[in-house]
């Protein structure tokens, strides 16, 4: 959609490709989970909001898949709909089905805060098309983050069952949320070349420092937790089901021009 393939050394291209795929898959999969609320959210306004956020996230994924496709001479739709479930590289946080409303609010808060930390770094990337896209995405994600923070407060302040469900969801998702910063095979190259200007461990620390003060008063002390080496390759039956859903139309007419 944008520029000609950049002239990069193979190691640099591979590092950029792995990074793009991880961010794009995160945005794509959380977008589809959000879309699972369309038509059944607890309030009409939230039906509109979750659907709008889902559209934003899938749109971000599209733009990232297009950067990746330019780089690898591939096609964004093929990357999105033509891969098997095991080829996805989203973090394990996004392996869970949407759960109840409190579960979705907890996940969205964990995700949006991590995404904010990541985008702040990517907006400084040495790869100019990625930096420009990340800067634009940040402006949109600001609204998602405000939405997630508002709902976290709302459920926590309500007390009773709302607060309990929220606290349970935060504790359950906490280990998997760390995996948004799971190591990438080519991360050293990405950091060394400034494609990813801060290393993942540093971003992980910055994110934990930000979320602990908000979450611990609700969920109690959260254990020490680190991203896992297989944090982006774990797959679950929940995700296999979602993958079957979002590829079903593309699979029904393979090779069709839409």
């Amino acid at each position: 959609m944008t520029a000609a393939p950049p002239d990069l050394a193979v190691t640099q291209r591979d590092a950029l490709a792995e990074l793009l795929l991880s961010v794009a898959d995160d945005e794509f999969v959380i977008g589809f989970w959000d879309s699972e609320w369309t038509g059944i959210a607890p309030m009409l306004e939230e039906d509109v909001a979750t659907s709008s956020i889902a559209q934003d996230e899938i749109g971000h994924a599209r733009a990232l898949y297009e950067l990746l496709a330019d780089l690898t001479d591939d096609d964004a739709d093929r990357i999105a709909y033509g891969r098997g479930a095991d080829a996805f590289r989203h973090a394990s946080l996004l392996n869970h089905a949407r759960g109840d409303w409190a579960f979705s609010v907890a996940r969205r808060y964990l995700y949006e805060t991590a995404d904010a930390v990541r985008l702040e770094a990517l907006a400084r990337s040495s790869h100019a098309p990625l930096a420009a896209l990340a800067a634009k995405m940040r402006r949109e994600e600001t609204y998602h983050l405000m939405h997630a923070e508002a709902w976290l407060r709302r459920l926590a302040d309500a007390g009773g069952d709302s607060r309990q469900r929220l606290a349970d969801a935060v504790r359950r998702l906490w280990p998997d949320a760390q995996d948004l910063f799971a190591p990438l095979a080519t991360a050293d190259e990405a950091v060394g070349r400034g494609i990813l200007p801060s290393d993942l461990a540093e971003l992980h620390r910055a994110w934990q420092e930000r979320v602990r003060p908000a979450l611990e008063p609700i969920a109690g002390p959260l254990p020490d937790a680190e991203p896992r080496a297989d944090g982006r390759t774990r797959r679950t039956d929940d995700f296999r089901w979602l993958h079957g859903e979002f590829t079903s139309v593309a699979r029904s007419q393979e090779g069709a021009t839409w």
Partner: protein, 172 residues
């Protein structure tokens, strides 16, 4: 708007033609007044226009690309016409022209509130305001119903004076 002279006024003809291309979602405003046109580059071989999406996931991007491309091809200024989607510079709501803001208001949309300062770094200022001026009666006795509206770029408000729901083009 920068309209560099050169190539026998062809650049000016491109800008004039772009003023005829409406936004597909709010046809009262042109793509120029919406601020989604970035650089325009005209040579003997090619007319190239940069399109800056209002939102990355805007579903109207493809339609805009097609409509801009068709309008520019009809000018027959060069054999090749290219409409590139780029995010540099990012579109911000500050790019809507004064005329565009007035046209939004006339169409029942509250224009986005201005962003103070440079507008490119002040993410804290992007917060949706709890009040927007009603485009129907001018009242500020309004409340935010939902920062997410029927399209990615709009928020929903309600006016307590004229009792109308209305949409605001989001500040982004």
């Amino acid at each position: 708007m920068v309209t560099a002279r050169g190539l026998d006024g062809r650049t000016e003809r491109v800008w004039a033609a772009l003023r005829d291309v409406p936004d597909p979602e709010i046809p009262a405003i042109s793509v120029v007044d919406l601020g989604v046109i970035g650089a325009v580059d005209v040579s003997d071989e090619r007319v190239r226009v940069d399109l800056l999406p209002t939102f990355v996931g805007c579903p109207a991007i493809g339609v805009m690309q097609t409509e801009i491309g068709e309008r520019l091809r009809s000018l027959e200024l060069a054999p090749d016409v290219e409409v590139r989607v780029v995010f540099d510079p990012p579109w911000t709501s500050e790019r809507i022209s004064p005329e565009g803001r007035e046209r939004l208001r006339q169409s029942g949309f509250a224009p986005p509130a201005p962003i103070r300062g440079a507008g490119l770094t002040g993410l804290d200022e992007l917060a949706v305001l709890p009040v927007a001026e009603c485009p129907y009666c001018g009242s500020r006795n309004t409340t935010l119903d939902n920062p997410f509206g029927p399209t990615l770029c709009r928020a929903i408000y309600h006016c307590a004076d004229c009792r109308q729901p209305f949409e605001q083009f989001k500040r982004v």
